[in-house]
Amino acid sequence: MKPILSAAALTLLVSSSAFAQSFQIPDRIEQLSPKARETVNITLDGPLLRLASQFMGADEQEIKQIVSSLKAVHVRTFEFDRDGQFSEGDVESIRAQLRTGWSRIVDAREEGEHVEMYVKHDTEQLGGLVVIATERKELSIVHIDGPINLKQLSLLGGHLGIPSGVIPK
């Protein structure tokens, strides 16, 4: 009986830990869309990312290499006409998911702007990236799920305006 109970406890522990580390865009964030003047809503899962990588051009091979190993990409950006269309509680609902298994590596605030960057630690490499950027009238969330080779990502500097300096090598 004891081995069964131990196995069950271990399974529960592992699954709850995996659940804690998975990230989803909270519903209350999705519900901000009607209030926004402009929105970008991108959800790409593994099969779509692999399909996208097949259509990358000859000059996009570095992007192809990064994208083909990813599990999912979620992007939400909201631009509002006036202040106060989203609350600190909305942003907190995102942060709450990033308390276990994630590390905040950037936290930059300046004149009503706040940018945070979180990375997920897997066994050997980074397993994900979340960027939360807030301004008075703007909220952006980027979630890249899957193994990220930051060296490769930093090489994209110049291609897509990704600065190499901010990404740790």
């Binding site: 970008v40 991108i42 790409l44 779509l48 990312l49 399909l51 996208a52 990588s53 097949q54 259509f55 990358m56 996009e60 992007i63 994208v67 990409v73 992007v75 950006t77 950037v106 930059a108 605030r109 300046e110 702007e113 940018v115 960057m117 990236l129 960027v131 950027a133 952006s140 980027v142 890249i144 994209l156 897509l160 305006g161 990704i162 600065p163 300096g165 901010v166 990404i167």
Partner: protein, 110 residues
């Protein structure tokens, strides 16, 4: 083979291949059936045409379906590629903001 056995075999063959007249009315019946078109035409020609038509239709239909599926896949792939590039551009612009903020903070330090 003994001469007697040879003769018996010879007689048996002669009996088997003896000339026999057709039954009465045989020629008339043959001519009548021919005039009625009862003699089968080239066997299987119609069936062959039907099968060929069916095969051609099946190939055309599957080709059309494959082309449509491939078109859909290509459209999805191009759209997914566009979204990936947009995602990375948004990520890049947010990270650029971070870098600018960090640079400004570092510059403002004494």
């Amino acid at each position: 083979m003994t001469p007697q056995r040879h003769n018996e075999l010879h007689d048996a063959l002669r009996r088997a291949f003896r000339q026999v007249d057709p039954p009465p009315g045989f020629a008339e019946r043959v001519l009548q059936r021919t005039s009625q078109g009862a003699v089968p035409k080239s066997i299987g020609r119609g069936a062959w045409l039907r099968w060929a038509t069916a095969a051609a239709l099946a190939i055309t239909a599957s080709g059309g379906l494959w082309y449509r599926a491939e078109e859909r896949r290509r459209t999805q792939g191009e759209e997914a590629r566009r979204q990936v590039l947009l995602s990375l551009q948004i990520t890049g612009s947010r990270l650029r903001e971070v870098q600018m903020k960090i640079n400004r903070q570092q510059e403002s330090r004494p």
